[in-house]
């Protein structure tokens, strides 16, 4: 008899939770070893990434250029700790490569480069680039009446970039139902809270006004994320915006909702404490 605590073979939500935990632990190790990175955002995004890669998207890491693959665009390109971890875990490259994060001449640049790493669709880093590129991918699918879906994950502070709203118009105008935007709504940008900087609320109303279907969910609830992200978009007639309410630094007590961990790096003691908590 397996232990009741172990996820069952067909327990998809349990598996996603296990992958999310692995992503948090592995990405924090990367940041600790590199003494660089953006761990707060890695942690707020980890559950969304685990749900997409292990519960929602169709892809073959051995055939990363497959025209039929679902696409994922990591617009918050600074959160490579989590992004590289999920790509390695999904099989795009060896997990051992994660230990070269930001080392000199490493393929694992601080921001992702598609020419170095399979599974990266476009080079991001400057904010406000992912949604416009994902819009173009979705338009290609729309022209071809193809079945693949395009997912893009942005930060919330990133929505202060005007390029996103240009694409919000185009996505709504073209009724790109094959396009899904997920906003990592952790309410913290680099220096302060979004609402104290250039406020975004009411964010759901903004996207609805641009012609998008909006779902507001707990961005750490794997079952709910799985439900809204895996629902078929066919016939919806609108692009989907999932506002994932999250916490920066989710999973570690001293990082939780703490702006200092946008690009904070842990001491040995902090790293060890985090690893004790991430179980």
């Amino acid at each position: 008899m397996p232990s009741p605590a172990a996820p069952l073979k067909n327990d998809l939500v349990g598996d996603i939770a296990a992958q999310a935990l692995w992503i948090r632990r592995r990405s924090f190790q990367m940041v600790y070893e590199a003494q660089q990175g953006h761990p707060g955002g890695d942690f707020s995004a980890a559950d969304v990434l685990a749900t997409l890669y292990f519960g929602v998207m169709h892809y073959d890491p051995k055939n990363p250029g497959d025209p039929k693959r679902d696409r994922f665009v990591m617009s918050k390109g600074h959160c490579t700790g989590a992004f590289y971890s999920v790509l390695a875990r999904a099989g795009y490259f060896p997990e051992a490569d994660l230990s070269t994060y930001m080392e000199p001449l490493s393929k694992l640049n601080g921001h992702p480069n598609r020419n170095y790493l399979p599974g990266v669709e476009t080079n991001t880093g400057p904010l406000g680039h992912g949604l416009p590129v994902a819009t173009g991918i979705a338009i290609a699918g729309q022209i071809d009446n193809a079945d693949f879906r395009t997912f893009v994950l942005t930060g919330d502070g990133e929505l202060q970039e005007g390029s996103n709203w240009e694409s919000a118009l185009t996505g709504g105008h073209r009724k790109l139902e094959n396009l899904t935007l997920i906003i990592d709504r952790n309410r913290l940008q680099q220096g302060a809270r979004t609402e104290e900087t250039a406020s975004l609320d009411p964010l759901d109303e903004k996207w609805r006004a641009f012609g998008w279907h909006v779902e507001v969910v707990d961005g750490h609830d794997h079952a709910k994320l799985l439900e809204v992200l895996s629902a078929s978009p066919k016939g919806r007639g609108k692009p989907l915006c999932v506002i994932a309410n999250t916490f920066k630094g989710k999973g570690v007590s001293f990082m939780h909702d703490n702006v200092a961990w946008h690009h904070g790096v842990p001491t040995k003691e902090q790293y060890e404490q985090a690893m004790r908590e991430l179980v």
């Binding site: 480069n113 476009t122 680039h129 416009p132 240009e166 185009t170």
Partner: protein, 319 residues
């Protein structure tokens, strides 16, 4: 692929050549799409829109999304030709050109329309005399500045055939069809020597090439032998042709662009590294006053007289 008929007095608007070529290419290759930012008419893509309505994407007046959507379409297997006024597709969307197109190294063709001072009277916001300087910094982005309708058609065909990012800088200024030997071919990165000469070399591109030829003919009547090179590709440069030009002992570059960082700067980088000789860069000094393009060309010496004067002065600097 036919260039369009001359508009007036044997002169051509190269946009017609672009439009005819892209339509013919699209007939043969279903991957080809166009992307515009409310720039259908100014890109002369009305015919394309009529023939392939589902293959034209109009994002509205939104250049950042314009360029990024091109990158996305390439990801989805398309060969996008992204066309808008050169001043906006470069300056307004420069980071998208850098990150989404060049650094990502995707198969997108950017078409900069009405470049240089074509919108002369509208002023420097609408001039595009900085575009080559900005784009030359992206080392893997091919930069082509065709000089006439034939070269425009060939450049568009070459861009479509090349798997990677290309910027083609077009003009709406009327230009004559250049005389070439039969069997001439266009190749990205290869300059063409239109007139042989031994005393100096004029290196030009785009709308300045026919003016350079006129200047060389004036100089020939004085016994000065000026070579004329059409350097249609600014990146990668045909360094062999530039090195050969230094053997004439004097070089004058001419471009419908700022004197800072464009063709002249690119040529100078090669000249100083090979065989430094007296050089002169002709172009615009920076923001220019109002006036038609033809007025501005004359005002800044970008004409037969100004080019010929510059050649004489540069030859005089030979040691």
């Amino acid at each position: 692929m036919s260039a369009a008929a001359p508009s007036k007095a044997g002169l051509f608007d190269c946009r017609d050549s672009f439009a005819a070529t892209i339509e013919a290419l699209a007939e043969a290759d279903p991957r080809i799409v166009t992307v515009v930012s409310d720039s259908v008419g100014s890109s002369k893509l009305g015919g394309f829109k009529k023939k392939f309505p589902e293959r034209m994407v109009n994002v509205g007046i939104a250049e950042q999304t314009l360029v990024a959507v091109g990158a996305g379409l390439a990801n989805g297997g398309k060969v996008p030709f992204v066309s808008a006024a050169s001043c906006f597709i470069t300056g307004r969307a420069l980071e998208q050109v850098k990150a989404d197109i060049a650094y990502s190294n995707v198969n997108v063709k950017l078409i900069g329309q009405s470049s240089g001072v074509a919108y002369g009277e509208l002023g420097p916001t609408h001039h595009s005399i900085e575009d080559l300087a900005w784009l030359r910094l992206f080392n893997n982005l091919k930069l082509i500045v065709p000089a006439d309708p034939w070269q425009t058609a060939e450049a568009i065909k070459a861009a479509a055939a090349f798997d990677g990012p290309v910027f083609v800088r077009l003009s709406r200024m009327a230009v004559p069809a250049l005389e070439r030997p039969t069997g001439a071919v266009f190749e990205i990165g290869k300059a063409e020597t239109l007139l042989e000469g031994t005393d100096a070399t004029i290196i030009a591109n785009g709308t300045m090439v026919h003016r350079a030829i006129a200047a060389a003919k004036t100089l020939a009547a004085e016994g000065i032998s000026a070579r004329v090179v059409n350097m249609a590709t600014v990146n990668p440069l045909d360094e062999a042709v530039i090195a050969a030009a230094t053997q004439t002992g004097a070089i004058v570059t001419v471009e419908e662009h700022s004197v800072r960082g464009g063709l002249g700067g690119a040529v100078a980088e090669v000249v100083i590294s090979t065989n430094p000789v007296p050089m002169r860069i002709l172009g615009f000094p920076g923001f220019v006053p109002t006036g038609s393009a033809d007025f501005l060309f004359d005002h800044f010496g970008l004409n037969e007289t100004g080019i010929a004067d510059a050649v004489r002065q540069t030859i005089a600097r030979k040691k």
